[in-house]
Each structure stands twice: as structure tokens, then as C-alpha cells.
Symmetry: C3
Subunit: 209 residues, 3 copies
Amino acid sequence: MESALLFQILYFVAIIAEAMTAALAAGRREMDWVGVCLLGCVTALGGGSVRDVLLGRHPLSWVEHPSYLLITGAAALATIAIARYMHHLRRLFLFLDAVGLVVFTVIGCNVAIGLQMPVVIVIASGMITGCVGGVLRDILCTDIPLLFRAELYATVSVVTGGIYIAGLHTGIPHDIIIVFAMLVGLSLRLLALRFGWRMPKFVYTQSLH
Amino acid sequence: MESALLFQILYFVAIIAEAMTAALAAGRREMDWVGVCLLGCVTALGGGSVRDVLLGRHPLSWVEHPSYLLITGAAALATIAIARYMHHLRRLFLFLDAVGLVVFTVIGCNVAIGLQMPVVIVIASGMITGCVGGVLRDILCTDIPLLFRAELYATVSVVTGGIYIAGLHTGIPHDIIIVFAMLVGLSLRLLALRFGWRMPKFVYTQSLH
Amino acid sequence: MESALLFQILYFVAIIAEAMTAALAAGRREMDWVGVCLLGCVTALGGGSVRDVLLGRHPLSWVEHPSYLLITGAAALATIAIARYMHHLRRLFLFLDAVGLVVFTVIGCNVAIGLQMPVVIVIASGMITGCVGGVLRDILCTDIPLLFRAELYATVSVVTGGIYIAGLHTGIPHDIIIVFAMLVGLSLRLLALRFGWRMPKFVYTQSLH
């Protein structure tokens, strides 16, 4: 099926983009090459792994396809070589990172649908798949996860998942729903980046203790 | 059964209290509303989730009851609205947080007893259920987990679990043992808060490297 | 079998050494005695636990053998008592920590081989077993994981695992391969410590955002 092939290609684009942005985060923390490689793998494959562990689904994708580990590790290492040109590719990377977010989200929703999960869990599964890799990256860099602050990152995941699930009940062909949900999510993320859209912040300065 | 109903009510009180204190922690880190919501869910449901993942027990509680995600997310968001009054409710919240600790502990012990685990694992299961949610909250806020420093927090969990397990071998009715173990644990926690009781600290200033 | 007994002894040496070095890390963060105890358990047993959770293998070792929790907790507490003499034992501890790394690595490889995993996963399983405990320790102390910076730590794990796997295809007796792989790994780690060998760092100063 053509859509399955397209999806497989998008998945590889997504894990490679995630591994490369993680490598840059590692470089900002002056990690060594092994650290760069490991952070790339954890960031690219961590979201799906946490989802599968929480849903009790084995084997994990990278255990079944060890090549995923090699691809993401290699992408992270390659980033070291081309880092000096990355600044010129800044927009491309933010774009690919956004593609990764919506691709991961739709994959995560699909996994939960395949397990006959209720709607709330399907959305949660999409969010976990899309967002947790970046959270793990930030924890390992001892940053406060960007997810909790960034431009609509988690929101994009919820919106993408919601449109996808709603579309499944309309009778519109599956491939069209996927493409539509991803395009809406991607547009929302790119607009948020372009115009600096953010969720309102909650600022609380008192201590309970 | 009346005690089952009471326990169910106490469980909801516990997850709501945990979600709300997590929301305040998120506010101190100036997270956005989505971050507040997510941190509330992770803190309230993380302890039980980690316990179930470690014990290989599926489905997780929130996968089986997705309403738990909605309740804790809503409680965290509601906290934003009432935050300005929270300072007056400070004591109430420390009380509810302490209730949550002992309720989670007894639930965690019960889960391990149901799996015919040995005593050490029953106690550990109670501690993990009671304490890990707060550890995840602190990690996501890049604080050193309070658990490792706070007023007898983990100790209260061990004491509560120990009394509960010991009581099960006495022939005293189950409900009475639960209430007694929880009251002792709750009292210990409240006294520790009131009088600043702490475990002795281990201070080591040399480096092995 | 003699080699099984030797291995069991080395395993206990490894978890005790890991628990004790974790206790010192806890002391540098002025954690209380409970925190010391918990950090010791998590560091010593966390690598194997994460491996088993990712591979979907239950029960975890400490669930099956609760004595492991007691031993590592006790070792961490004992460290408080003897901390003032630890500086004189500095070299011994770095040595025991290196022994732990190679022992954990070989155990992790063996677990994956027992599950008929492909080579990449066998190596990954060894690395996770050998290295993740220390990563959890560093996250709980809000340090950037040493693994991403330290003297060939992860590299030693990969080399040890690689030699072990390669050796299994040579027809050389199993015990000899284990000892040889561990000796090479141990030597590499000790030489790296002695001469300050490190992997090259990746330094990247620009922000993608």
C-alpha cells in the first residue's frame, strides 16, 4: 500500500530529525560522542518505548527492529560532522521536528486504536509518543522540559490526535484523514513557531512549605 | 461494602490533592497550562503506574479508568483558578497530601499482597505507590526530589505499610487494620510537619573522582 | 558450577559497590538517611530493572530476590558509618565500580542472549544493565549524567559486550570468554581512569530556537 510506504518514510524522517536535534542539545551540554549517540537514540525512540511499556505492549519497536537504534545513533553522530552548517538549516530542522511530532502522534493514536483503547487513552497514547522523547532529552540535560513551556507542542499533539479520531467516525478514507490531521497539526505548530503563540503561563510564587 | 466505598473516596481525594500540589509546583516554575495539566496527571498517577510497570501488572489504573486522567488534569487546571486563595488553604493541602501518602501506601501494599509478594516487596510497593509520583514531579521540575530530604515522607510510608502488614496477621478485621495503619501514618506525618522532624542527614564533601 | 558461583559473588560485589558509591553521591547532596538508602537501591538495581522492563521480562530480579533490596539498602547505610575512611579507599572503590560495570554488562548480554535477541540488542542490553543505574543516580541528584561525559564508561560496556559476543562464536569455553571479556573491559576502564582517557566532546553553542 502506498500510504503505508509513505508513513514508513515519514517515520524514518521523524526519528532522524529527533535524533539530530537531540545531538545539538547534547552539544550545548558538551557531551562526548557516546553521550551524543545515546541521547539521540533515547530522544528518537523514547516516546514510543514509554508508550509501549505503559500499555504493556512487547516487543518494543527497536527491540523488534534493531536497525532503528543504528539509524538514530548514526544520525546523531552525523550531526557532529555537519553541526557547523546546522544554523543555515535551522528552519528545515524546526520543520522536520514538527513533522516528527505529528507523525509520532498519529502512530501513537494508531497503536492505542489497535488495542481497542477508549478515546482518552488514544489521545494520551498519541501525546506520549509525540512528546515524551523530548521530555527524556530535557531531563537528561537537566533542563525543565520544553514541553511544559514551548509553543503549543503538546497542544499540537492533542489537536492532531483529536482530528484523527474524529475523522475515523466520518467514513472518509483513512489515508485522507491521516493526511488532513497531520497537515492541520503541522500548520498549527508552524504558525505557533512563526508568531510565538504560547499557552498562557501559570505563575505562582508562594511556597506551600 | 462500606469500607470499599470509603477507600474509593479516599483514593479520589488523594489523586486530586496530589494533582493540585503538583499544579502549584508547576506554577512556581512558570509552566504553561498544558504543563500544569500534565504535571498534575504524572504526579497523581505516576506512583501507581511505576509500581504496576515494575510488577508487570497491566492494564495500568488510568488505562483501565481513563476518567482518572480527566479528573487529575481538571484538578490541576482548577488550581490555576483558585491559586490566589491557596495560601489560606495551606494547612488543608498539607493535610490532604498526607492523606494521599497513607492512602496510596495502603493501596500499593494491597496490590502486592494480591500478587502474593513477600513482605519486603509489599512494603516497597506501598512506598513506590506513595512516593514516586512526587519524585517524578520533582525530576520534571529539576529539583532534587523532596523525598530524599523531607519530613519523614518515605518513613511514614514504611511505617504505615509495616503496621498494615503486621496487623493482617493478628486476626483483627481488615477495615480496622487499614484505618489504624492510616491514622498512625497520618499522625506521624502531621507531627513531623508540625515539629519539623527529619531524618538525620548524611553530609559528605569529598569527591571520589 | 564454579563459574556460576564466582559470577554470583561478583554480582554481589557489583551491587554493593554501586550502592556505596551512590551513597557518597547522596552525601554530597546532603540527603537524609532514607534518601541515601533509596538512592543506593535505585542505583544498584535500576539498570537491571530498566532492562527487564524494556524487554518485557518479569519478575524483576529484586522482586524475585527481595534480599537484593535489603543488601543494597544496608550497604548504602553502612557507607554513612565508614564515610570518613572512604577517601583512603578511593582507589578500591573506583576499582569495584569498574568491576561492577563489566559484571553488569556481561549479565545484561546474557539476559538478551537467553531471549534470542539479535546482536545489537544484546550489546544494548549489556549497556543498559551496566550504565542506567548510574544515569538514574545522576538524574535523582539533578546532575547531567556522568555517562555522557565520563572516562569511556559506556564505551567500556560496548567493548566488553562486543568481545563477549564475538567470543561465543569461537568455540572457546564459555567461562574463559567471560573472564577474558571482563578483564579487557576492566583494563580499559582502569587505564582510562589512570590516564584520563575520554571520548572527544561535541561542543555546540548555537540555539535552534
